[in-house]
Amino acid sequence: MFKHRVRVVLIFILGGFVMVSSRLVYLQVVRGRYYRDYARHVHLETLATEASRGRILASDGEILALDRPAFNVAMVASELPCWREVCRPVLRLFRLRRRERVLSMRDVTVLVKARGPCRYAVSFGMAATFLRRKGTELVRSEEEGSKTVDVPRELAEVVEKVAALTNTPADEMLGAFFRGLALVGRGWRRLREPCVVARDVGFLAASEVESNGDRFVGFRVVVGSRRAYPYDELACHVLGYMQPVTAAEYERWREGFAGSRAKRFLPEDWTGRLGVERAAERELRPARGTRTVEVDAARHAQKIIREVAPEPGADVYLTIDPQVQAAAEAALSGLVGSIVVLEAETGRVLAMASSPGFNPNDMPRHGPRPDDPLAPLLNRAVRGQYPLGSAFKLAVAFAALQEDCVPDLIRCEGRYYGYECHNHYLPLDLDLLEAVQRSCNVFFYKLAYERLGIKRLAKWGALLGFGQPTGVALPGEKAGLLPTPAWKRRRFNEHWYRGDTLNLAIGQGYLLVTPLQVARMVAAIANGGRLVHPRLVDKTVEADGRVRIPGEGRPVPSLALPREKLALLHAGMRAVCHEMGGTAHRAWSGWREEQGYEVCGKTGTADAWIRGKRSNVGWFVGFAPSREPRVAFAVAIEHEGERTHGGEVAAPRARRVLERLPERYLRGVPGEPLRRRARRELAQRGMGQ
């Protein structure tokens, strides 16, 4: 019988189904979890959502820096038509096997060479520390490698077109793209993540790229933001500017910043430089959010699965008053130097100008050249270190008054141990008032050497804040230098000579100060001996309204001086400006009639070597009004060549600033003593917290 053969056919088919079913058991049951996770991994895409960086505002609420929306052009590696050709050599430079990873990456060098139209060669080099598998163990290994990729013509053509549209150099775009690619290879970034290659391209270029998707395959417009400084150069050194993170910074901050993973840096992120942008990076920097979406095979988002909202950065309110700042910058125009204006009672920085300046909107590409001899990026108020010249006599006088060793009269014969004085007709008996007024060198030589001694002078110099940073919220503040015998021994292995004391007495020799330090010293003299902390950041207001006041409650060192002694010093400084024979008398002539109040000041003219040339620095420091001091200021003007007196070069600048000083800084609430007002203000802020 052959009927059974029919059943054999059925058995064959059954066998087929059993074969497939066993496979299904493997795929769906044994490996089910793997494939479920894998599918989720493919379907879900987590993208970062951006928030804007905090604004920087002036004390009167004027916005000095803000984020404005900008169109960026990004390249998506996985969407490029020739991505394999381009990406594979780079991605394969260092193969990672299972469990292996990159610990840190140094020296990513991307060199783009243009070899004629539409021909580019990208040399890509990298050194990194890997965790490599060796047998069953993971060991660290240092590796480096490089590769040169010829950019395919079709890609180069598109890049050049986009480059022409966006006004960005094509090699720069390629460089940014390949740097991004380096991170893909390390698993720190995904191939389909857009990599920004041209920033702030403008609406026309963006719409051109966006609407011609077929011509610019792999290019995408992503909305980002660009830092804008509405007042251009105003307070540029205080604000700082934005620049892409360096490789080293990225390395340090890629896992997190300011203790927050959401604030971590991506390689195309920009970071603040120089001013508050840098100093308050922790507060200003927004926290990225994430959005997990379900995407289809074409990477179209279908629905939002999970969302963590981004948090905008905190607004930073400065103590800077734009009017005063503008006045200070106008006073400095055309000169090299710095002006600092402080509120004497509180240490609030009303203006901090440094010249020459720059426009932070142009940074970094169109900013000043790094080899500019005048160093426009240098904030001379905190990073310029100059000898103080005669203005240091204020510190000597202050120290002597504190130590109670000021004689009634000192005779000036015109020279002292070979050190000269030609500030007045000789010989002359002077008291402290007149010595300050005329800036008599010999008086202060004798005072410093015979009465005070270097030990006590150095002690009070340090107490007045010289030789150490003021702690203002700016990066890279210099400490200056207050020479002491111990320092000299350490530095030069030499004894401290008499000449060193005499030099220091008139602010020459080794002494180096920053304008901010000087302004603070003057503020201390003005307010009766409280060495206030200069405050640049008034408060930070976070997105949810929380207010923080930095440096609040820091004890203010008090160097209190009896009223009558202080009055002597004040009188001397007043005489500098308003008495015949005062070193700045000419610059302030007619001031009292014009403004109705008087100014206390002190000139200084210091010999210095600046940029390798014999130069001098003209100083004018002081406070106003003379009776009830409110603002303290320091003006330093660098001057090359022949000697120019501080009273001639710096004092008129100070006058220009004070001329434009708003009324409110000269007058408190009517009838309220200044100090009480300052205390009340602090209390109010405490309440606001």
Partner: protein, 399 residues
């Protein structure tokens, strides 16, 4: 013995199982015809509607076939064969090209496209049944040549369309029919071995995309080649992520998010969709339905005394069964990707019609098993001659 044609209980079972598979097919063609778009704005294509149209046509033809005694068809087997060959030759010249793969497989009638190779399979079964019915030459090894020749000519024509899948499915059919027609198993094994020995020759003649498919099948777990077998990889993810119970109908994320390419999702890879949405148990249910269908059909084949009817039933079951197994094996990565649809379920008019017509033939065989041809009544002599001709199984009973 004469009796009136009637539908037995088992015929109704066949019809019910067929209808069940058709319903599953319609449901999953619907699910697989979703196209996701940007911003979550997906839509359904019209393919479920078209499929329903084809199914309606299929049902009408199914019923129509039941009115014609299958023996008439067998009588005219050679004529049908000639017509089928003619169609296959014509389609090489007049057929429409599919833009995706450079193949001429279809005749276009308005918006409907008909694939003659699908129907040729049925014609082949009928022709082979005609050839093998009153003959015992195929018991000899050389006697196997004519039936293979009958198969190889249309196979070659289909293969140069090219449509390797459909062509290859003919081979199990002819083997099964020869086996059921009492050919010697040893001879058939010998041919299988010889065929395997010729595989390298076949490799040379394959087109690049066919070679790629075979290679990607062979290297499917090799990460270096994973880009080359994208479809297969996605199908496996879809199947695996379905797990035991599946994600639910119209909830299969992997397929609905277009990861399985839209072109093949509702035909070649619809099995992956079913596995994703119904899970392992759902796939087993489909298999069970198929097996029940095949078992009832083969039961009919066992009971039919007329050898032609039995061969038709065996041929149809082998055809449908092979397609089902090969399609499922292909989606799970056990066989290279060949363009075969899952019978009765996949989207595609010609394939649906040919499966339905095939099953209709089986039902036809069942209901006409005792009914003689009118021609036999007119020509009793010929009928007696045919009746006296020994059925193979009887003549070789002594073995």
């Amino acid at each position: 013995m004469m009796r009136r044609p009637r539908l037995t209980q088992r015929d109704w079972l066949i019809v019910a199982l067929t209808a069940a598979l058709l319903a599953i097919g319609a449901a999953f063609v619907r699910s697989a015809s979703y196209r996701s778009g940007p911003m979550g704005e997906g839509y359904y294509t019209t393919s479920p509607l078209k499929q329903l149209q084809w199914a309606a046509i299929g049902v009408v033809l199914f019923a129509g076939v039941l009115f014609v005694n299958y023996r008439h068809l067998i009588e005219h087997g050679y004529a049908l064969y000639a017509v089928g060959l003619g169609a296959l030759v014509l389609v090489l010249f007049l057929g429409v090209r599919s833009p995706a793969i450079q193949a001429r497989r279809w005749f276009a009638f308005g918006s409907m496209r008909v694939q003659p190779s699908e129907f040729m399979k049925l014609v082949m079964i009928v022709t082979l049944a005609r050839y093998l019915t009153h003959r015992e030459s195929h018991r000899r090894f050389l006697g196997l040549l004519p039936p293979f020749a009958i198969v190889l000519v249309p196979m070659a024509l289909v293969a140069i369309e090219p449509d390797l899948g459909t062509a290859l499915v003919l081979l199990p059919v002819v083997f099964a029919m020869l086996y059921a027609a009492a050919a010697r198993a040893g001879h058939l094994w010998l041919i299988v071995v010889m065929g395997l020995a010729c595989l390298p020759v076949a490799w040379v003649g394959m087109r690049p995309y066919q070679k790629e498919r075979v290679l990607s099948f062979l290297y499917q777990e090799d990460p270096r080649r994973q880009y080359d077998s994208y479809q297969l990889r996605q199908a496996k993810i879809a199947i695996g992520s379905g797990g035991l119970f599946g994600k639910g109908w119209e909830k299969g994320t992997h397929q609905r998010l277009n990861y399985i390419p839209a072109k093949t999702r509702n035909n070649d890879f619809i099995f992956a969709v079913i596995c994703e949405e119904l899970g392992f148990f759902g796939a087993c249910l489909v298999f069970a339905l198929y097996l029940a269908l095949f078992a009832s059909c083969l039961r009919t084949a066992e009971e039919v005394h007329h050898p032609g009817g039995r061969l038709i039933a065996v041929g149809v079951v082998t055809m449908v069964g092979t397609e089902a197994v090969v399609n499922a094996a292909m989606a799970t990565g056990q066989l290279p990707v060949v363009g075969l649809s899952l019978p009765l379920i996949s989207y595609g008019g010609s394939s649906l019609l040919s499966s339905l017509l095939g099953l209709a033939l089986v039902v036809n065989v069942s209901i006409y098993r005792g009914v003689a041809l009118a021609a036999d009544e007119l020509d009793p002599e010929a009928a007696a001659r045919r009746a006296s001709a020994p059925l193979p199984e009887e003549s070789f009973m002594h073995e």
